[in-house]
């Protein structure tokens, strides 16, 4: 399975980086940007590596990340 897009809702994301931590493929990384709460939200480092396991969605405490399947 391949991901078409990984959407991070910057209004919901609290920058806890749990998604980055649980991703088995290191698809995600920390962005250098901060959102409106002043938090570092995740960014997609390598979309092609994503296997759409949705562990990031399962562990995100804030429903802030969504993987769109190809």
């Amino acid at each position: 399975m391949k991901a078409k897009e990984i959407i991070i809702d910057r209004n919901l994301c609290k920058g806890c980086s749990i998604c980055i931590h649980v991703c088995p493929k290191k698809t995600l990384g920390i962005s250098e940007d901060i959102n409106e709460y002043g938090l570092f939200y995740p960014k997609v480092e390598d979309l092609a590596s994503c296997i759409v396991c949705r562990l990031c969605e399962l562990y995100c405490p804030d429903f802030a990340i969504e993987v769109v399947q190809e």
Binding site: K14, S17, R54, L58, Y59, P61, F63
Partner: protein, 261 residues
């Protein structure tokens, strides 16, 4: 496949939540929603009851079902009345360790004893978080909290073991690292006829983190490595009780049928 979008559209009243960044409470909300969705039960047949504390906010205001946000320590007693009055309802109590075992410990014992068919999900972060990180019945011996600045002189309670001894039909302990097991466990608990209890060790980066000197990622790692089905004491996770036995509301209904004749 359950996606974040699907959850937000169908099960959550509003976001962002008031929980601190990295708090496990959001994960537990996520797990409860997934369990309800997997079971395909109508949301109108689910009622959530909670007391006071950070975890009391998991159902109220976030979970889109009828919710009763009650006084500190009493959600189990409110839930018992609700369940007995309308046995059709799947009543889920979400309670913190302080709420369920400190101020409300008596109600927990008696709900387990009477085997009333409600589900209690106890979020255990080892202290009172909402009020500022004070010592709780679940705080380890010698741990420093805001009211045990020189270390906790008392000892902690193994809540799951107590609830099992009190007569619950289902008892399990998981952590927020064990999301899939937790979701399956919540499904079983909701469908269990009698009293079901799930203890979830959850990271509170703000206060528990300070007590343990860990951030939330370290805590999740600690849950993953230290909490195992073959471990001992509080570190032992898994299903501890899974039995069938007569349940309170059913017994009451049977008695009414008998007496009415």
């Amino acid at each position: 496949m359950i996606t974040s979008r699907y959850i937000k559209e169908n099960y959550v009243r509003r976001l962002p939540s008031a929980f601190c960044p990295g708090c496990g409470d959001g994960q537990i909300l996520n797990a409860i929603i997934r369990a309800i969705d997997h079971l395909k039960i109508d949301r109108k047949d689910v009622a959530a009851v909670s007391g006071i504390g950070c975890s009391a906010w998991i159902p109220s205001p976030y979970l889109r079902v009828d919710s009763l946000h009650t006084t500190h320590g009493r959600p189990i007693a409110f839930a018992t009345g609700l369940k007995v009055a309308n046995p059709r309802l799947k009543v889920i109590v979400v309670s913190g360790d302080g709420d369920a075992t400190g101020i409300g410990g008596n109600h927990l014992l008696h709900a387990a004893r009477s085997n009333v068919g409600i589900t209690v999900i106890m979020v255990n972060n080892g202290l009172y978080a909402m009020t500022g990180g004070q010592v709780a019945p679940t705080t380890p011996h010698e741990a420093k909290t805001t009211t045990t600045p020189y270390g906790n002189p008392a000892f902690s309670l193994d809540v799951s073991r107590v609830v099992a001894a009190a007569g619950a039909s289902y008892v399990a302990r998981w952590t927020t690292w064990h999301m899939n097991q937790l979701i399956r466990s919540i499904e079983k608990a909701i469908m269990k006829k009698g009293f079901s209890f799930i203890e979830v060790l959850s990271q509170c980066p703000t206060y528990e983190g300070r007590m343990l000197n860990m951030d939330h990622i370290q805590m999740l790692e600690w849950f993953k490595n230290k909490f195992r089905e073959d471990a001992d004491g509080i570190y032992k996770i898994g299903e501890f009780v899974d039995i069938e036995k007569p349940e309170l509301t059913e017994e009451l209904e049977k008695m009414i049928e008998r007496v009415k004749k």
